[in-house]
């Protein structure tokens, strides 16, 4: 989005006055909406909307052979597709760079073993383990993609049910997988320690949380902080063309420490009280 100099000055002044162009304060999020179970034949799915940004996350679990260096753990793999629906610039290969940036951020944030219990995904040590394929589709881009994607991932993982399977060894020691015929027999993942990203965009001398598309066009660098509900930081990365003063960075990290756990608790409480009235995109 291109802004005129006057508009940029307006946004800069609004941030200085702690009253942004949509009336929020610097540390306020926009309205968030979450809905799970949107895709029928997925293990878990969620649709998350922050302001104008909308993402659809789908989790599919597939049985694969675990890596030789980690025979008792499952794995998680992310794939992000920037749909052309969000912006004509994403048509063809236009969205690949942005997608790979967000993907590598997610990979890093989820690389520490305390985030998910990967051993619970193991079915038979050395032979079978579940690989979670988390596919993210960005449907609308209204600023703050990192947050939306990470919250969507958390919601989808909360919604994920993986079938209980048993492994039998045949006569020649070949393993065979038996899937339980009862579809309701499955286990859910513990997503308490799953991190969420918080994006702090530097505009002038202040950092704003949850930037909108206009603010992103006039901001300089952003700091993406992946933080869990217990306040453990799993990933920090600076993106964008600007630099940060150490005190700004410290302020951002302290804000993340204060607000991050609140966002987690809000999300989980909303997911728990979700009713069965699912209308998906028809709403």
């Amino acid at each position: 989005m291109t802004l005129s100099e006057g508009e940029k000055k307006y946004i800069l002044d609004s941030v200085n006055d702690d009253c942004r162009i949509d009336g929020r304060q610097r540390n306020n999020y926009r309205l968030m909406q979450v809905e799970t179970d949107v895709i029928d034949h997925a293990n878990g799915s969620a649709r998350l909307r922050i302001g104008e940004t909308e993402v659809l996350v789908c989790v599919k679990a597939e049985l694969e052979t675990p890596k030789p260096e980690t025979p008792d753990r499952g794995a998680i793999q992310f794939f992000i597709d920037c749909s052309a629906n969000a912006s004509p610039q994403f048509a063809g290969r236009g969205g690949n760079e942005l997608a790979s940036d967000i993907q590598s951020c997610l990979d890093r944030a989820f690389s520490s073993p305390s985030v998910l219990d990967y051993t619970a995904l193991c079915v038979e040590r050395g032979h079978f383990s579940w690989t979670l394929f988390v596919d993210i589709l960005i449907l609308q881009c209204g600023g703050n993609l990192y947050d939306a994607v990470s919250l969507g991932v958390k919601a989808a993982l909360y919604n994920t049910v993986i079938a209980k399977v048993a492994v039998k060894f045949l006569a020649d020691n070949k393993p065979e997988v038996e899937v339980s015929s009862d579809p309701s027999k499955g286990f859910k993942l513990d997503v308490t320690n799953v991190p969420c990203f918080m994006t702090f965009l530097r505009i002038g001398n202040h950092c704003v949380l949850d930037p909108s598309l206009e603010e992103e066009s006039c901001g300089q660098g952003s700091l993406v902080v992946g933080i869990t509900v217990q306040g453990i930081v799993t990933h920090v990365r600076k993106v964008g063309p600007g630099s940060f003063h150490p005190t700004s960075m410290e302020d951002a990290l302290n804000t993340a420490n204060a607000i991050g756990p609140l966002i987690h608790m809000q999300l989980l409480s909303k997911l728990k009280e979700e009713t069965a009235d699912k209308r998906g995109f028809l709403r």
């Binding site: 590598s104 890093r108 003063h245 150490p246 960075m249």
Partner: protein, 269 residues
Amino acid sequence: MAEQLKVEKYWVLVLQEQPSLLVVLKVGVNGKAKGSAYVEAGNTKVITAIYGPREILRRQDFRMKGILYCEVKIANFATQMRAEGNKEAREQELSAVLRHSLEPVVCLHLYPKSQIDVYVHVLEDDGSCLATLITCAGLALCDAAIQTYDLIVGMGLVSFFHLLYCLCESMLDNRYIGGNIYMDPTHDEEKESASSGENGSVIIGLMPSVQQLATIFQYGDVSAQSVTKACKELMSMCQEVTPVLQECLLNACPNSPIAEAEHDDQPDL
């Protein structure tokens, strides 16, 4: 402390406490490229070449600010296991992080409709890869006479236990291993850290004169206060190491009095 030597146009640092560890700096290693640098920190070896600024050929890419194109390639033989892990994803990540680190440093508004290419090759990766390659890219930028806001000077710490000052990195790699901090860890130390308690890695990119963090990259499980504390310590170490890198760059200039005094015809590298 440390002894600086000048050995055949290389800046070599021999550390008294750990004489087997060498840190090597050299700029202008590649005759064909506009600017180049080679950095060795312990066993990690990185070489960078810079081409540009050159014109962007496609008209639709026209913009008033220059574009930085960074490509990091890790040699197949660089890691302990050949072509270890997900090499392509790692290369893409390093390229993206390098680009985000160099963008605040280079005066891109002075290069409209132009592209600056930064090609980094990691010849051997023994830990501190990201830190070393950002330093190397920074040195190469200065060698290429690309205009920057700050002279990216490098400094790094080899090991917190020994409190050694290794004068070659602008990025400091700070690792917590169960409460102990290892500065500039080796590959084995990185692996050990990944399996212990509160463990993580913090890498910063500092522009020392303007006191701005060009980049920060953290992974692992650390508390927010620890990240801040790590950054403060890294920054103070950076400041101490700045002068040596500056001197290394100065001496690489063809008209400097030291270079003229030691004029020799040996080929580069």
